[in-house]
Every structure is written in C-alpha cells, then in structure tokens.
Amino acid sequence: MIPLTMAKAGDAALIRKLSGRDEMRRHLTGLGFVVNGNVTVVSKTAGNLIVQVKDSRIALDKTMANRIMV
C-alpha cells in the first residue's frame, strides 16, 4: 500500500484504504473514492494532484491525497 501522492501518473490504481476524520472519509466516499474502486492520477504539481475517479476530475492537495492508500 502506498499513498496516492506516490502513485504514477496515468496508471489506474485500486483504492485500498481511506483514512482521516470520519466526515472527511464520508466526503471522499461521496466524491467517488471508495475502497476497491479505481483512481487514476491525471497530473501532479508539487504534490498536489488532479485525479480521475468514476467519471469526474477531482483536485486534491498533498494532505488529502496522503489519506488515500492505493
């Protein structure tokens, strides 16, 4: 398991764990981040990410991305 910040851009990865406060995890789930679901890093800028999850683009900062383990 590695945090999403370390995943390679362009490759689809399987989400294995979400950590953080309850409401934040719920929010991530609502946005489409779900364990056993796919996530693809579209681009990286200084640790901040744009990812594709389900069919939407989500922007995440480093702290948030570190809570998603793939």
Binding site: R26, L31, N48, I50, V53, D61, T63, M64
Partner: protein
Amino acid sequence: MGIKIALAGNPNCGKTTLFNSLTGSSQHVGNWPGVTVEKKEGWLKGRKDVVIQDLPGIYSLSPYTLEEVVARDYLVKEKPDAILNVVDGTNIERNLYLTTQLIELGIPVVVAVNMMDLVQKNGDVIDVIKLGSTLGCEVVEMSALKGEGGMEAAQKAVTLAQTHRAGELPHIFTSRVEHAIARIEESIQGKVDDSYLRWYAIKIFERDEKALEALNVSAGLKAHMEERIADCEKELDDDAESIITNQRYSYISNVVSKSVKKKSGEHRRSVSDKIDQIVTNRILAMPIFAAVMVLIYSIAMGTSITDGGFAIGTFATDWANDIFFGEWVPNWADSILNVLSVAEGSWLYGLIVDGIIGGVGAVLGFVPQLLVLFLLLAILEDCGYMARIAFIMDRIFRRFGLSGKSFIPMLVATGCGVPGIMASRTIEQDRDRKMTIMTTCFIPCSAKMPIIGLFAGAVFGGSPWVAASAFFIGITAVVISGIILKKSKAFAGEPSPFVMELPAYHMPSANNVLRAAWERGWSFIKRAGTVILLSTIVLWFLQGYGFVGGRLQAVEDNGSSLLAAIGNAIAWVFYPLGWTGDMAWKATVASFTGLIAKENVVGTLGTLYHFLGEPGENGEKIWALAGADFGPLSSYSFMIFNLLCAPCFAAMGAIKREMNHAKWTAAAIGYMCLFAYMSAMIVYQLGGLFAGAVRFNLWTVVALTALVAVFYLLLRKGYQDEKRFRRMSSVDTKIK
C-alpha cells in the same frame, strides 16, 4: 396545501439550469460547485399549486459542507412530496450514490438523467427503463441545456406526489447486512413514520449521531442495537460505515453494468484534461492566471478605448458619468423643474440637482464598469476556470493559513465585497470560512477605486505606484491578518485539506452568464436607489444648513454647517493619523459617509470642496483644492484607513448574515477598524518621522509599540491545542 417538489443532485449536474427552465425565475448558475446555498423556490410553469424547491448540490446525505447540511435537513425534516433527482449521465456511477440514498428516504423519487446529448455524443447508451426497474423508481432522459425532457420529468414527479406512491425499495446490501437493518427497523418501529423506517435504520447502522438524536431512543434500546451492529461488523470484519458505503457502490456498479453500455471503459484523455495540463502546470499556471486577471481588469477598468486602451468598462462608465449623469440627466431635471416652476436657487432645486443627482449619479456611474467586470467573472465561473484558480492558489494561500477556496471570495470582492463575502459559503471548515469573511474586505472593491484614483491623481501626480500600492496594501493586510489570526486560539489548526471537483470545461451559456452578471449588478443598483439615495439627501441637508446665531438656516460656508459641527466633534479620534487642521472634519465626515457606501467618500469630499472653491467648471479644480488641503502624508494615511476600515453597511450586513452570530460580526468589524487605524497611524507617524515631516511625539511611541506588537503577533509561536491533537490521533489509530 400545494405540492412540494425538491430538486436534488450532485454539484454541477445541471440542476439549477433545470430549475430556471421549470420555474422561469432568475437564478444564479455557476460552475463553482454549489453556488446555490439559499433555499430557492419557484412555481412550476403553469401550475400555481406546485412549488419547486432548489436544493444546493450535494454528494451524499452525510453532510460535509454547510450546503450539504442545508440540503439534508430539508429532505429529512421538511419532507417534500416528491424528489426530482437530477443525475449527470456522463458520470452516472458517482451520481447514483446519492440516488440510492434519496430512494431510501421513502419519498417518491423521479430520476432525470441529464446531459443525454453528451452521453449520446460519447457513443454511450443508457437503458433508462432497465435502470428504473432495478432502482425501483421512475427514470427519464433529459437535456437541461437544450431544454428537453425537464418538463416531462417534473410532470411525472407531480403525478407521483399526488398519489404518494414511493417505489419498492431495492435491496442494496448483502443478506447479512439487510438482516441487521431489519432488526434495527423492528427496534425503532413506531418512533418514526413507517416510510422513513429504512432510512433511519440504515443511518443508525452507520452510527449517524444526528439520526439517533432525532429518534430519542432509550439507553437500553441503544445498547441493544449497538450489539447487533457490532455483531455484523465482527462477522464482516469491517466497520459499519465502510460496509454500507462499499456495498452501496458495488450495488451501483452492478446496476450500471446492466443498464449502461459504455463505448470504451478505458480512461479517455478528454479536452478538459489537455487544457488542465497547461493551465494547472507548475510553471505556467501562475503566468496564465496573471494574464487572465490583467486581461479582465484591462477590459473592465483599464485605459478607456477612447484613450487608446481597450477598456469597454471604463469607456462606458466615463460616458455615464460625464454625459449621462453629467449633462443629460441634470438637463432633463432642469427642464422638468422649470415646467413645474421650481426656481433655480430654491432649496428643492438644490436638493434634486446638487444633492440627489450629484450623489446618486456618481454611484450609478459605476454600473457599466461593474457590469462588465461581473460579466467577465461570470464567464470565468461558468466555463469552469474558477475551480482551477482555487486549486492553483491553494499552494500559495496555505502558507498564510487560508485555503485556495478563500481566493474566490477575494477575487469576487475586487468587484464588490457583498457577493465576495457570500461566496465564502463553499468553504467547508467553519474557522476557514470565518477567517475568509474577516479578510475578504481588505481587498479594494470597485467602490474604493475612486478613493485611490482621487489621491493618486490629485496629490501624487497620477503616479501609478500609488494605485498599485493600494492593491499591495490590501493583499498585505490579508496576508498579515491570515498569519496573525491563524496563531490565535480561535483559528488554530491547519486549514482543512483541499478537495474539489473540477467540472469539465464548456462554453459558457449566454443565458447563465448574463443572468449572473445582471443579478449582481442589480443588487448594486438597488442599493444606489435606496441607502445611497437616502444618505445623499441627509448629507445634502447637513452640509448646507447650520445654526447661525442660534437659528437653523442655510449656510454659505459649509465650515459652519451641521456636518462640520458633527465632524469636528469626532475628528480628535483621528488626530494620531495626521488628520489635522481644516481637513480633519472633512476627512472624518467623508470616512463616516463611506460607511453608508464607499463611493460616498469621494462624493462627500467633492461636495465639501465644491462649496469652498469657485463654482468648479471641471472636477480637476476641486480635487486640486482637496489635495492641497490634505497634503501627501495625511492623504496617504486617509487612503489607507479608508481602504482597510469597516466596509460599507451592505457588506457589514453580508458579514452578519454569513457569520450568523452577533459576537463574530462585531469581532470581524472591530478587527478591520483596529487594523486600519493602526496601519494608518504607523504609516503616518513613523513614515512622517523618517521623511522629517512629523516630529517625535507621544504618538510616535504608540505607533512604534503597535509595530512591535504586530511583529510579535506575526512571529510568535502559534496556539497549539494539545487536546485536539490527542483526539485526532486516537481517531486515526481506531481506523488503522
């Protein structure tokens, strides 16, 4: 009683566009996720007995942002007769996550699959009949942008609401979980309406505290249900909430695989991705953003087209000021008053032409410029770039304790502080939002531009550096306040991590953009017609009349007017800022009228110096007089104070609404005033001392102390909440 239908769906799913077409009312539509926080209602076209209720965009019924709380509370507590759930067909899996939760509420649901035109263009096929039969509710196709299918969907919702027929609830979870939920349903039976039973049972299973509170269950029953949940968790080796969300999503992907045929399942590099590659690029992002902003401001507020620039806004406003309110309206008023035989020189003539047209006209003159600015900002918002700006700015704003989302309010505030403050609603964390509200008004709004323009022109010979420094002062004030506030107890802690959906870029819709720009512009015009109109009348009276020989009468020299008396009585407060001599009462009065509307600052000075000089043929003369009276250093301190101090009443009202708390409102406004006063004092006293214009005095010491205090507040170690750290880490370990 009429029928109530709620519109629910994810942010950016086209809900607001549908709302507009169903009700015909005007509504703000943007691409910044979740622009509609206010509850907006409207009648369904042609049906006065059907109320359509627009809800803010939500991702799920577990609230995270303020807007999600609003939406959930409405659905659970006010119970609409039917829900019209708008679903983005291009992102159906994520959108159905909310749909499955809405269906559980036991309220009749119609699912309208929006953006069908795009779905077809992508070559995908959605079988709505199959989707409907699996989900157990009506599903219809729709394209809100093209206006297809929306009315039919609404009609279906009306029919369902009339028959009160909710669909058969689908079995989403595995039998083990369904079993546990059924047992919880049994335990709470009778406590809620039967149709709500399942929703409450699932929420209790998830250990949702709010739902449990609402039911008011006994401790014994609670322990009994907790046992069932714990059993189930043990058996499935996962926590209850994850069980629910994971099973919900696997149910959805099962549904989607049966009823949706995608042309290619692979990740497609869309046009949006390609644009994002450039505009969010590490090196290019900032230059592109800066270029966009420069472009916007040169179109709205730069050099007028008549002077070789390309500012449509400035051109239109010049015309409105010089020709429309400068010649046409006074001439019309003059001829009308002549017909009514109101003599020139009578008090009524003076009130209407000098007072009202002069005062209100000066304010309305800004409308064209503002409309251009609002229009351009609305385009940025509607096309999807605004969300990217928040993302780009996040890295920078985080350094002084604000999140990237705080940038949008500040950007909007360059036009007007009121919509700026309102734009802070999309910030999730309470303390981030409060901090944004407290600092947004430091950014000079369009009404403060004339203040800058006046002194840059009259005192500093049109130096562009003075104008630039005004912006710099605003930004510095935000940065310093960010750092200082973040170190106080109330705001301690990291800004909440940034996560935000980036909507796909699209051509802005003319309808949406015009509507948004006009709504903001109209609220400005309304203000000019009410508050500012009233204040110009009062001002005109106060500065034209005074007690001479114990009798109230018109005065020749406004130095003996009522206004001067009031100004002189308060002016001592501003003595440390260098407001001394004859200008003191005028500066004081101007600052106070600025509270009504910042445009009044210049307007008041205009009226006051107009009296003094010979009938000013052109404005230049008046401003030259004012400039000479103020002097450079006092001008600068006056400018700083007025740029930073409490905003106008309209913005203060917005602060009060958004803070929703009297103490916080007072704290925010008090902070701004104190900050403004200190800054102006430091600049005047210490700047003056260095320049040799001000001698060392008691206030030099006060200013020095204030400066040291600011540095201390900036550099001290921030407040650390030990307890919070411990609590956070205990949560983390539990999850692990």
